[in-house]
């Protein structure tokens, strides 16, 4: 809370990010984007038998990309750490909303309710499909 009072110099200099860093971050973002699109065609998850890995992988890349944008393009790395704290707080409260809503939803999944028609339309993998009509 009081971090901005303790260490910061009296008149903080504006940090000019070197072009090399900006372009480097940009290149990394491009590579990661291409990587995540390319990876989406290879069904890693089903190869190892854990379908959720695809989502985790894609989101991990998104988090890395997002962090790069926030740290370098948005100057979080160089500036008042409280700005980063605001960002993290906002994300934490989004997590709270999603988290508790999901606890509730998971516990009341309609397909767990006896005699409720389960969602069976799409089998887990294309090869399990029933023959086309």
């Amino acid at each position: 809370m009081s971090s901005e009072h303790s260490a910061a110099p009296a008149a903080p200099e504006v940090h000019v990010v070197p072009i090399r860093v900006l372009v480097g971050v940009w290149l990394a973002l491009i590579v990661l984007t291409v990587l995540t699109v390319a990876a989406s065609w290879v069904d890693f998850g089903h190869l190892v038998g854990e379908p959720w890995l695809n989502l985790v992988g894609a989101l991990t890349i998104a988090v890395v990309k997002g962090s790069l944008v926030a740290l370098y393009f948005m100057h979080l790395r160089y500036e008042n750490p409280f700005h980063g704290f605001i960002l993290v707080t906002a994300l934490a409260f989004v997590g709270l909303l999603i988290g508790i809503a999901m606890i509730d939803v998971q516990a009341t999944r309609p397909d767990l309710i006896p005699n409720y028609a389960p969602a069976l339309e799409t089998p887990a993998s294309p090869t399990d499909l029933p023959p086309a009509p």
């Binding site: 504006v14 944008v69 008042n80 605001i86 906002a90 409260f93 028609a117 969602a119 294309p126 090869t127």
Partner: protein, 319 residues
């Protein structure tokens, strides 16, 4: 940030026309502006957070809907759009840098390129929206069942890895038309019990005659009991997946359009802000001593980029 009383504030006010009277020093004004913007960005994150929550809930409840709907999303176009936004984010960051260093021409050039990037993003978005509109891949009540494979005939799905725009030249697809009434397949009593607002996708009834029902059978036999089939060819496999439509696919498209629509709205607002800053930089308002608006608009633009970075894998890269 507090600045000592010895900072001779009056001097600053005389020298600096852009310094507002209730601030003591330019640093205080600059830092307040950035701080306020970050707090505002937090509200933007929470605004989208609600939609991400809706996404998570429906994806958990109806994974089959999301997998099915992903057949109709063009990940190449989405990826290109991601690259466009990333590039515009770079030019924005370079623009802020130019403003910090007082390179006015570079600043103007960078802001213009960023503006172009935003326009390009919206253009590609328009192409995607138009295809979805024509194929009836829409929200709630506007959704048109894909089980007849009509989208397939128009080369709509993006899973081939081909550009969804490749169907130009062929006859334009039909606008969304009401599907034949599936109520006809139901016993009159069951059909009458349903309010007319309930959409029943074609081919979504089970059994026939008096036994017809909207509910699927309680279970299908364990797949292990079935003789293994050779995997079908890729094109045939795709067609079969499209014809095998789950219920409530429109839920995905509802979320898709709300999320991308709200994001597009933010792109438009961001472009308006960049236009304003561009106008002021043409007027020569900014220099190494005063560039707060450029910095703040930059933060907004990067946040728009940031949100898209998460929207893209969640909406386009489902498998």
């Amino acid at each position: 940030m507090n600045h000592g009383a010895g900072a001779a504030p009056e001097l600053h006010h005389e020298e600096r026309p852009e310094l507002q009277p209730h601030f003591e020093t330019p640093e205080q004004q600059f830092e307040s502006g950035k701080f306020g913007m970050w707090v505002f960005l937090a509200t933007e994150i929470l605004l989208f957070g609600g939609l991400f929550c809706a996404y998570a809930v429906y994806r958990a409840l109806h994974p089959e809907v999301f997998v099915y709907a992903s057949l109709f999303l063009d990940r190449v176009l989405g990826g290109i759009n991601t690259l466009v936004l990333i590039c515009s984010s770079l030019t924005m960051a370079l623009g802020v840098r130019a403003a910090q260093l007082g390179q006015r021409r570079l600043l103007i050039a960078m802001l213009s390129v960023t503006l172009l990037g935003g326009a390009g993003f919206l253009g590609i978005k328009y192409v995607e929206y138009e295809h979805k509109w024509k194929a009836g891949l829409l929200w709630g009540t506007q959704y048109r069942s894909q089980a007849d494979g009509h989208a397939l005939e128009h080369g709509e799905p993006g899973t081939h890895g081909t550009d969804a725009a490749s169907h130009d030249g062929s006859a334009p697809p039909e606008p969304p038309a009401p599907a034949a009434d599936p109520r006809a397949a139901l016993p009159p009593a069951a059909a009458a019990a349903l309010p007319p607002s309930v959409p029943i996708p074609e081919g979504r009834t089970f059994g026939d005659g008096e036994n017809a029902s909207l509910l699927p059978p309680a279970a299908i036999g364990p797949t292990g009991m079935r003789a293994p089939e050779p995997p079908p060819a890729a094109g045939e496999q795709l067609e079969r997946r499209i014809r095998h439509e789950p219920r409530n696919v429109h839920l995905f498209f509802g979320i898709y359009f709300v999320m991308t629509g709200l994001h597009a709205l933010h792109v438009i607002v961001g472009m308006a802000l960049i236009g304003y800053v561009l106008f002021r930089s043409l007027r020569g308002d900014f220099g190494p001593r005063y560039f707060t608006p450029v910095d703040i608009v930059g933060l907004y633009w990067h946040l728009v980029d940031l949100i898209w970075i998460f929207l893209f894998p969640l909406l386009y890269l489902i498998e």
